[in-house]
Symmetry: C2
Subunit: 302 residues, 2 copies
């Protein structure tokens, strides 16, 4: 039995459109409405038949919902919440999919006083953006983290948890601040590093961009994938989770400086010790089903 009968999605990009497709597949009885601030995206969602109704305002989209999910960049959560505030049914549960949670929780509580709020973050995605990039299996086997505050009713949290489980995700509940720290290291720092190195490589005088691309199989191309992610989404994340990201950056910088020094002074043992340790992390990650075991991501098979 699906926990919600009428689901409204605000934002129809990669995540919103994937939720729409997954709801269609796993909750065939549910009614889907949705809205995107970009008229072109709304039109495309209609063409793709993602929704039962795609009205031209966020307020109309949520007017009869029992679950509203805000699927906009975290910097847009405040505005999206403001847009639905007057039309939101009092019994509706409001959730989101933001990659940083403390700042979003504050925005939602301020804009929607008294609302039934259960913030969520499905840890899943691809480097592609927009309604065409979504697919129903995106959340399958991935974790979805809920970060309810003390005002959230346990039954509401369980309903949102059940929603995500029915889309194929595994659910974990966590404090918003801890979430932001965990994701700073598992997601935000990796993206920042990837964006940086791709930028560094494209700015060299002695090495052409064409050479960088040709010889990228040596490791660089792995970074380009996540450095192709949605720029607006990621700008917002770094600004929203500033404190934790700057903390992780500082630690990363210290560790990198240690390795830089080891290289300069021919200290092979320090390098070897770290390189052996990091291998074990990969092994654990593959064993726990969080990545494919195929060498080179299976590229050579393709």
């Amino acid at each position: 039995m699906a926990p919600f009968a009428r689901v409204a999605l605000i934002g129809l990009g990669l995540i919103g459109s994937s939720i729409a497709r997954a709801v269609r597949e796993h909750m065939p009885g549910a009614t889907l409405t949705g809205y995107d601030a970009d008229a072109k995206v709304r039109a495309r969602a209609r063409e793709l038949g993602l929704l039962d109704q795609a009205p031209s305002s966020a307020a109309e989209a949520v007017a009869e919902a029992d679950l509203v999910i805000l699927c906009v960049p975290v910097g847009g959560m405040d505005a999206a919440a403001a847009e639905i505030a007057a039309a939101l049914p009092p019994a509706a549960i409001v959730s989101d999919v933001g990659s940083s949670k403390a700042s979003v929780a504050t925005a939602l509580r301020q804009r929607l006083p008294g609302a039934r709020i259960v913030p969520a973050h499905p840890v899943a995605g691809t480097e592609n953006s927009g309604p065409d990039a979504g697919f129903a299996s995106l959340f399958r086997g991935r974790w979805c983290i809920l970060t309810p505050d003390e005002e959230a009713a346990p039954a509401d949290v369980e309903a949102v948890a059940e929603f995500w489980r029915q889309l194929g995700a595994k659910v974990e509940i966590m404090d918003a601040k801890h979430h932001d720290l965990v994701l700073a290291v598992t997601s935000h720092l990796p993206h920042l590093i990837a964006y940086t190195i791709v930028g560094t490589a494209s700015d060299l005088e002695e090495v052409t961009e064409s050479e960088v691309i040709k010889y990228s199989a040596g490791g660089f191309r792995d970074f380009t994938r996540i450095a192709a992610s949605n720029p607006t989404m990621w700008r917002d994340i770094f600004l929203a989770n500033k404190e934790a990201v700057l903390d992780m950056l500082q630690r990363f910088h210290e560790d990198l400086t240690m390795l830089q020094r080891a290289i300069r002074w021919d200290d092979g043992d320090t390098l070897f010790e770290l390189f052996t340790r990091t291998r074990a992390i990969r092994r654990g990650l593959v064993e726990q089903g969080q990545d494919v075991a195929r060498p080179d991501f299976g590229r050579s098979e393709g």
Copy 2:
């Protein structure tokens, strides 16, 4: 027509064993001999039937070869060259597969005076190591960079180029110093960064290793793949290509510091501008066939 009739491989790990398999597939008439300093690896190579002969010394392995390829970590090239020096047939061409070229070229010229040397670097690999990890198609569609010095005869360079083309690679010829700069950015720096971030993540007090693994789908897991590469090989590369790696690290550090400052001062425009630019690099790379276009490396399809 295969350019060489008797190929000797010194080092039977991922790359050596992949060459053996590819030679079997593409040059069925060639005789393959090989040696590895590790007796267990030699025994495994015999079990796998990778070679026609797997003698117990490097000297025996090269005694009748017309092409010798050193497939050992770059820090082991000097010792490997010393081992074969006395037994090397004067007409044999000596090549290697080292990921840094200037230091290897110096070692080979010193140890093998008068030899016909054509250094090479196939820009291909996986995160796995050892004779079981190799496969025949590893070099297909990848670039192999030759870095002959002024002593190398054009006909020798062409013979080695043809060898790699017959294994499926595309061949480029480049100055050793330029190679080392290009690879510092497309391969060495990415590996160093990946090793660092995986180490940073595993050293946190407030976030457990189990959490890092669980939520790695947010980006982190992409880094763990290359941070699982052979520790000896990579220690050697950073020490051998010290100058170029330290130069690239300095540039990377400047760029990262700029982004760090942008985050601290809420300068979203600087972030957005870079994140948009890096997206274009990914597009070029996929268009030129240097990576799979499947979103998320096709993981969700699996």
